[in-house]
């Protein structure tokens, strides 16, 4: 793992091999769990990070639901690196991992990511061809069972926001939801990492209604954004998805919230358009460092609750 490049964008075969190596290198802290297969039959992995002790609270985090958002999986890799390298050295990280597990899906949309490396840099969806149309792919972040297919999601397979034939129709979605459902009693927070536009969003997206803990979520998002800005001054706007960007249905953060995970956040990482989906490798480190502060802030809050 010492030769692994965390400040570069890595291809899937590199990420996949890295998940195996890091679990082998830190057997007491990291375990690799296969949670399913993609449409093109690639194995989907989750890394469980934390000292083995039960029962513990947990935070679930996924990266790379949209293929072209390369900084997202780069962050999940960075997070795992930081967790493993600073455990036992940094008091705060040690406390977090002694008392909490992180379930990290380093790459959600593997097939789409491979496609974005090999065929089309700006591919967004997965590579499912299950529809009767010649168009390929489902937007995995419209495929969750949260007011599925109702608001600003498309039922046209040729659209970038095609929601699929039914809720959880996609094997990638099913793998993640099955895992979360079977660990609901311990999962206290859900984080999903996207790019771009520098935002911190929370439910709901499918309605303008506020959640019962809206005030708490807003305050947490405010503090998390403050933590992010404290490092390099990057301003992340925050608020509910519906009000801050636009209403949309079938999204993973809404689904997680409605499952009972009351701390559910979407991170939209750098930048605001200068680079868009082409954030240079030279910005990976700074972007990941600032987001680490927010994730650790949220983890500490969940631990105290």
């Amino acid at each position: 793992t010492s030769k692994y490049h965390y400040t570069k964008y890595n291809e899937w075969h590199q990420i996949s091999a890295w998940t195996a190596r890091i679990a082998k290198k830190y057997p007491k802290l990291v375990s690799r769990i296969k949670i399913g297969n993609t449409f093109e039959n690639r194995s989907m992995y989750l890394l469980k990070i934390g000292k083995q002790r039960n029962p513990k609270k947990a935070i679930f985090m996924d990266c790379g639901i949209h293929a072209r958002e390369w900084i997202s999986p780069a962050f999940c890799q960075w997070f795992v690196k930081e967790a493993t390298r600073t455990y036992g050295k940094d008091g705060n990280m040690t406390n977090i991992l002694d008392n909490m597990n992180f379930y990290v899906v380093p790459l959600f949309n593997i097939d789409g990511y491979v496609w974005s490396w090999t065929q089309n840099r700006f591919w967004r969806k997965n590579r499912s061809n299950a529809s009767s149309s010649t168009c390929i792919g489902v937007d995995l972040n419209r495929n969750f069972d949260a007011a599925w297919g109702t608001i600003d999601a498309s039922k046209n397979p040729c659209e970038e926001i095609y929601c699929g034939s039914s809720p959880e129709s996609e094997p990638e979605t099913k793998a993640v939801t099955t895992f979360i459902r079977s660990h609901l009693s311990s999962i206290k927070a859900y984080l999903t990492i996207h790019s771009y536009s520098q935002m911190l969003l929370f439910p709901y997206g499918y309605t303008y209604d506020k959640t019962p803990n809206y005030k708490e979520l807003k305050e947490l998002a405010r503090e998390a954004a403050k933590a992010i800005a404290s490092l390099y001054g990057k301003k992340y706007t925050y608020g509910t998805s519906a009000a801050t960007i636009y209403p949309s249905s079938g999204c993973s953060d809404d689904w997680a919230y409605d499952q009972g995970i009351k701390y559910s956040f979407t991170f939209e990482l750098r930048d605001k358009g200068k680079h868009g989906f082409l954030l240079p490798e030279s910005e990976i480190k700074a972007t990941c460092q600032e987001i680490m502060l927010a994730v650790k802030f949220l983890a500490n809050y969940i631990l105290r609750k």
């Binding site: 490049h5 400040t7 570069k8 964008y9 840099r121 700006f122 967004r124 937007d139 600003d152 498309s154 659209e159 970038e160 926001i161 771009y196 536009s197 960007i245 636009y246 949309s248 358009g273 200068k274 680079h275 868009g276 989906f277 082409l278 954030l279 240079p280 490798e281 030279s282």
Partner: protein, 90 residues
């Protein structure tokens, strides 16, 4: 993506919003923000990518409809290549 461009536009009037929403019916438009033409609202900054052969035409249409725009990427291929820091690839 040679000479493909990314436009940033900001529609002010409902007529301009409708024009942008209908753009994908005639042209191949890849929306970067928002995710789809469906989401476009008045006063929203909209980023989208068009191929080189359609860029000039899109620019003409934007001018004709009085929609303020800037070009964020003049040549996407160059920026794709710049994203990976080749100096670090030992």
């Amino acid at each position: 993506f040679d000479s493909a461009k990314v436009f940033r536009v900001k529609p002010h009037k409902e007529k301009q919003v409708n024009f942008l929403k209908n753009l994908p019916s005639n042209l191949q438009i890849d929306f970067w923000y928002p995710d789809s033409a469906l989401h476009i609202l008045s006063e929203m900054e909209v980023d989208f990518h068009v191929s080189a052969d359609q860029a000039k035409y899109v620019e003409t249409l934007l001018k004709q409809n009085g929609i303020p725009y800037e070009i964020l990427f003049q040549n996407l291929q160059e920026d794709i290549e710049k994203q990976l820091d080749n100096k670090n690839k030992s």
